[in-house]
Structure formats: C-alpha cells, structure tokens
C-alpha cells in the first residue's frame, strides 16, 4: 500500500473529518432533544401523542436512511422546499437519531422504579419536575452506553450524506481517489479516520460512565 498521496491531499481528510464531526454533532444534539420529546410522547397518558410518536418511530426505523436523505434533498423540492445539502444532511441524521434515541430514552425511563416518581409526586413536585430532577438523571446514567452506541452509529451513518454532495470525509476520500487514480488507499485512510473518531468517543464515554458510577 502506498499512502504517498497523503502528503498532497491530507487536507481533504482533515476538512472532511471536520465536516463529519459537525454533521454528527448536530445530528446527535437535535436527535437527542427530539428523541426525549418522542420518548415522553410514547409514555404519555394522551393516546394521540403516543400514536404520533409510535408512527414516527416505526416509519423512520423501517425505512433506509439513504431513501430518507434523497427524499429530503431531492424529493421535497417538488413541494418548493429546498434545503442546502448540509441542512438536508443534518435533518436526515436528526430525524433518524431522534427515532432511535426515543426508544433508548423510553426504555431508560421505564426502567426507573415507579416508586421514584411516586416519592417525588408525594412531595408535591409536578410531573415535569419529577422527570427533570428524579427520573431523567437516573435514566440518563443507565442509558449512557446505549446513547454512546447511538453517537457512534451517527458518525458512521453520516457517510451516507456524501451521496448528496456534502464534502465530508467519505465524499472527500472518493474525490482524492478520482484525482489520484488510486482506488484503494484513500478509502483505507478514510476508514482509519472514522475509526479514530469513534474509538476516541467510545473511550470518552467509558470514562464518563465510570465517573458517574463511582458516585
């Protein structure tokens, strides 16, 4: 293998990785916020909210992300809605991670003993306060491994948005391959960069987990 091309094209990989990180960061951030919302809807007492959340989660999980990306970027132009590639990428990653996060949060919230909520309510706290101060902090701790898993999935899945022309890591690797007529090594380089990102992330989450469980 010859990685000599890197001396000339390394910046394609760093710029691509930076964009991948941005996409993943926003996807995870908005996905988490929306995911908590959908999780709360799924455990709500109000039937219509539960129904909406279930339909959303089933549809998003039951359709390929690549199709979703194309619908958002190409399909929506039919209705006069034009998102930039970057925006489309973030939207696709967000709606996906929201669906998976919702299930993680729902399971995490359900795993907390009902007595915790009852104790909070018996003190006079509202449902929202009980969630915020009692249920979610405990659920979050239990869910950390699953959340970390989801972060890693998002980083990897963000490579799919290369298909709508976002110059993230995967897109740039292929650009380098076509410029240099080297088909193989640029992909290995991209894989290595993805691996470094997910590996560091999983180590950081492991540290956080240990720190929380030490309490």
């Amino acid at each position: 293998m010859d990685f000599g091309f890197l001396s000339e094209y390394w910046s394609f990989f760093t710029r691509g990785a930076w964009l991948t990180l941005q996409l993943s960061f926003f996807g995870v951030l908005f996905g988490t916020i929306l995911g908590i919302g959908f999780a709360l809807m799924r455990i709500s007492k109000i039937g219509i909210l539960r129904f909406i959340a279930s339909v959303y989660i089933e549809i998003i999980r039951g359709t390929p992300m690549l199709v979703q990306i194309f619908i958002i970027y190409y399909g929506l132009t039919n209705f006069g809605i034009n998102f930039s590639p970057f925006m489309s990428g973030i939207i696709a990653l967000t709606i996906n991670s929201a669906a998976y996060m919702a299930e993680v949060f729902r399971a995490g919230i359900n795993a907390i003993d009902k007595g915790q909520n009852e104790a909070a309510r018996s003190l006079g706290m509202s449902h929202a306060m009980s969630l915020r101060y009692i249920v979610l902090p405990q659920a979050f701790r239990n869910m950390l491994p699953a959340i970390g898993n989801e972060f890693i999935v998002i980083i990897k899945d963000s490579s799919l948005v290369s298909t709508i022309g976002i110059a993230e890591l995967m897109y740039n690797a292929r650009t380098v391959a076509s410029k240099t007529f080297i088909p193989f090594e640029p992909l290995i380089a991209a894989a290595a960069v993805y691996f470094v990102m997910t590996f560091i992330l999983s180590r950081l989450l492991g540290l956080l987990e240990r720190k929380l469980s030490a309490q």
């Binding site: 104790a119 003190l123 706290m125 306060m129 101060y133 405990q138 309490q215």
Partner: protein, 241 residues
C-alpha cells in the same frame, strides 16, 4: 382535617375499596390494620391521590380534593408520605434528598434548606450521614431519612404505607421510635402497618379493614382487647400469637 366519604376504587371490574367513610382530626394518630389485599394501602394512597379514586369524596383541611384538581401538587406538599420501599433518590446525597423539595417547591435558599434538613436529620439521629448516598445506608437508616425528607415540607399530616415491612427485624425499632416521637409532637398521622404492638401503643384510633371496607374501628383497647366483629377476631387471633 381529612374527611373521607364513600371512597371507592376499582381496577377494571375488581373493586378494591367498597365505600370507605372516615374522619381524621388534627393531631390524631390513625392506625390501619387488616389482612393483605384488604385495600388498606390503596386507601392510604387515595388520600394523596397517588391512586385516583373511582368515586367518592375527599376533603383535606376543608378543601375538596377529589375531582378535577388543579393544585394537587400544592395539596401534596401538605401531606407527607413514607413508603414501604423508602424510595430515596439514589443519585442524590442524604442532604440533597431532604432539601430538594423545599428548595424547588418552597424556594428556600440553600443555607436555610440545609439548616432545616440538618435539624431534621439530627432529630432522626442521622446528622452524620448528610453526605452519604442512600446505597451506603441500612434499611432502617433509609427509612428514617425518608421520614425526614417528608417532614422537610412541613406537612400537616403524614401518611405511612407499611413503613417497616421491608426492614430487617432488628431495624424496625429505630424507625418506630422516630414515628413515636413524631406522634408525641402532635403530628397527625395515618399509618398502615402490621406492627400490632406499635398500633396499640401509639394509635389513638385503629381501623380494621377487610375486603375493601372498614369492618371495625375504635380505640386500640376496644379493637385489640374487645373486638366485636368475627372477622376482626379471626384476624387478630392470627397475628397476635
């Protein structure tokens, strides 16, 4: 202080409470006894509406608290509750457990809430555990903290749902002692328990429940020494050996 009229509670077709009537006066210690499945815990949990009554009327300090209730949270602030399983918040220290509700609901400052909590912890004999997490405490200690946590909201009534049933025998005494002290201070208390000796010693009035009804009520002497109802006699003959 608490007025209960024809309180009923059903799960599906199964009726747990079949019309409960009771009046609880200020400063009174009511002990509810009865076989398991008699509905005594459900009755207690209906009083602060952790269980939603199916029908009937509840009044607390002359305020109707059944039906659509907007300030249920305010009412609960004045009704402390202690659970069989303690339900301390495991992600918080003892001090945080006790101060959380006063700080968030009564908007007490940290120093004021801490001072109040420390005096409560001292009164249950656990001031030295202020920075401990619940996982490091024994069952008896947890329950005493849970009592302090409920008292921190300065409730006008305390509800106890089998507070010693999950404890090892050697820890029952320390929790009952705290409850006796509280009763002696004039706290209004409703206690569901299997501790007959305690019921007799501390109760002003004993309610015997069976199959969703109050079968017999009276002073501890009346109920324990001269029960009138056959079911009360049968129950007492089983538990007072």
């Amino acid at each position: 202080m608490i007025h209960v009229q024809d309180l009923r509670k059903s799960y599906g077709k199964h009726e747990i409470l079949k019309g409960i009537n009771a009046d609880i006066s200020k400063g009174e210690v009511i002990v509810v006894i009865g076989p398991s499945g008699s509905g005594k815990s459900t009755f207690l949990r209906c009083l602060n509406r952790l269980e939603e009554p199916t029908s009937g009327e509840l009044r607390f300090e002359n305020q109707l608290i059944t039906g659509k209730q907007r300030d249920l949270n305010h009412i609960r602030q004045r009704m402390g509750m202690v659970f069989q399983q303690f339900n301390l918040f495991p992600h918080m220290t003892v001090l945080q457990n006790v101060t959380l509700a006063p700080r968030k609901l009564k908007k007490l400052g940290k120093e004021q809430a801490d001072a109040q909590a420390l005096s409560l912890l001292a009164s249950v004999g656990l001031a030295d555990k202020r920075d401990a997490y619940p996982a490091s405490l024994s069952g008896g200690q947890k329950q005493r903290i849970a009592i302090a946590r409920a008292l921190a909201m300065q409730p006008s009534v305390m509800l106890f749902d089998e507070p010693t049933s999950a404890l090892d025998p050697e820890m029952v005494g320390e929790v009952l002692d705290v409850m006796k002290k509280l009763a002696a201070q004039g706290m209004t208390m409703v206690i569901v328990t299997h501790e007959m000796g305690f019921a007799r010693e501390v109760g002003d009035r004993v309610l015997f429940m069976d199959e969703g009804r109050i079968i017999e009520e009276g002073t501890p002497q009346e109920v324990f020494d001269h029960p009138k109802e056959p079911r009360t006699k049968l129950f007492l003959s089983k538990v007072l050996k």
